[in-house]
Subunit: 197 residues, 2 copies
DNA sequence: ACCTGAACACCGTTCAAGT
DNA sequence: ACCTGAACACCGTTCAAGT
């Protein structure tokens, strides 16, 4: 990568971060190139699609989210881990307005530049969900795709100015549907062999 | 209203119904005028905003939804009434792709042509919610705005091809968060005086 | 009263021409 | 290798000119 190309790439990314913060995921690509003082073709050379640009913008946050899931896997109880990761995932979905719609499309389109990232996040959530389910702490009739969908739904709610103020409350309500009662272990009769005899 | 105007109005509406069904609520207005064989200005004369057009397109369904709420108010038990109206409302939100986002914006904007319709629907839902809450059959920490938001969220989920197949399932999950346990009356000790002594 | 379509200011995307 | 911007095909919205 030539030095001038590298510089354009970096500057484009910095400007894109600002513009997408202001205008959302469907921001004008023309505007980004313009503000970066770069030809429109240069933007398309570095980021052939909108998804490719957003993938780079989101990568760091997505990695954090995946890493967080790994940490919670061992540091917290299954229900707390799932609950706080869920909260974190919804917060991520708020990073840029309109990003959830792109992610919803990307998860079903292997050709999207965002596909891999979305699958990774969904997998991270699935692992937390499975652990909670194994302990009877999460609804059994739910899979990773459902969890991903609910994160998306809450992300969308947060994107709507009329609903955003209630988003924490709505998150609590939906979380309560995912997490089953405390189900404090070994109380319903049949032990679950948390420590083998 | 002159005869030719009336005819344009009606034809425009019929064409709009088709185009919005195909392309969603953000369909091209130009395309609608074109397919209707009418000048672009004619469309704007009859429907000064996109919301005005959709308001007419949705009015019948919205009225049905409000009426249905009234019927359920007396025909069903509070929890069943709320559950089945909720289902109906989500189905409505599916009528045209992308309509929920417009409604979310409209409910916060008194200037929108869709504002009144949205408020009416929200009120209808609020009444069903309050009745269920009075009987302890719905979560107490929920108001009509929250219910409206949840309907919107499910509508959005249904708009995403990747989530649409699971929409009935997700609806059940969210509905279970709104409806509290059966709470079969008079079981928790304090009666609620359903029939005055 | 009502209709028309050009005009304006925007898009996304591509690609020949330049350095 | 990389950059540029004109070109093309679209938008939404307005409004002078027509009937």
């Amino acid at each position: 990568m030539r030095a001038d190309a590298r510089q354009n790439y970096d500057h484009l990314l910095a400007v894109a971060r600002d513009v997408v913060t202001e205008q959302g995921a469907d921001a004008s690509l023309r505007d980004i190139a313009r503000r970066a003082g770069v030809g429109l073709g240069t933007l398309y050379r570095h980021f052939p699609t909108r998804e490719a640009l957003l993938e780079v913008l989101l990568r760091a946050s997505l990695d954090e989210l995946t890493q967080k899931a790994g940490e919670l896997q061992t540091s917290s109880s299954p229900d707390e881990a799932l609950a706080s990761w869920f909260r974190e995932a919804v917060a991520f979905a708020h990073r840029y307005r309109g990003v959830v719609a792109l992610m919803a499309a990307a998860i079903a389109d292997p050709g999207s530049a965002l596909h891999a990232s979305c699958v990774t996040v969904r997998s991270a959530g699935t692992r937390l969900l499975l652990r909670a389910q194994a302990e009877g702490m999460a609804r059994a009739d739910l899979d990773g795709a459902d969890l991903f969908a609910l994160i998306g739904a809450l992300g969308w709610l947060g994107d709507q100015p009329s609903f955003a103020p209630r988003i924490d409350h709505l998150l609590g309500i939906i979380a309560s549907a995912v997490l089953t009662k405390p189900a404090s272990s070994d109380v319903k009769g049949e032990r679950r062999r948390r420590i083998p005899p």
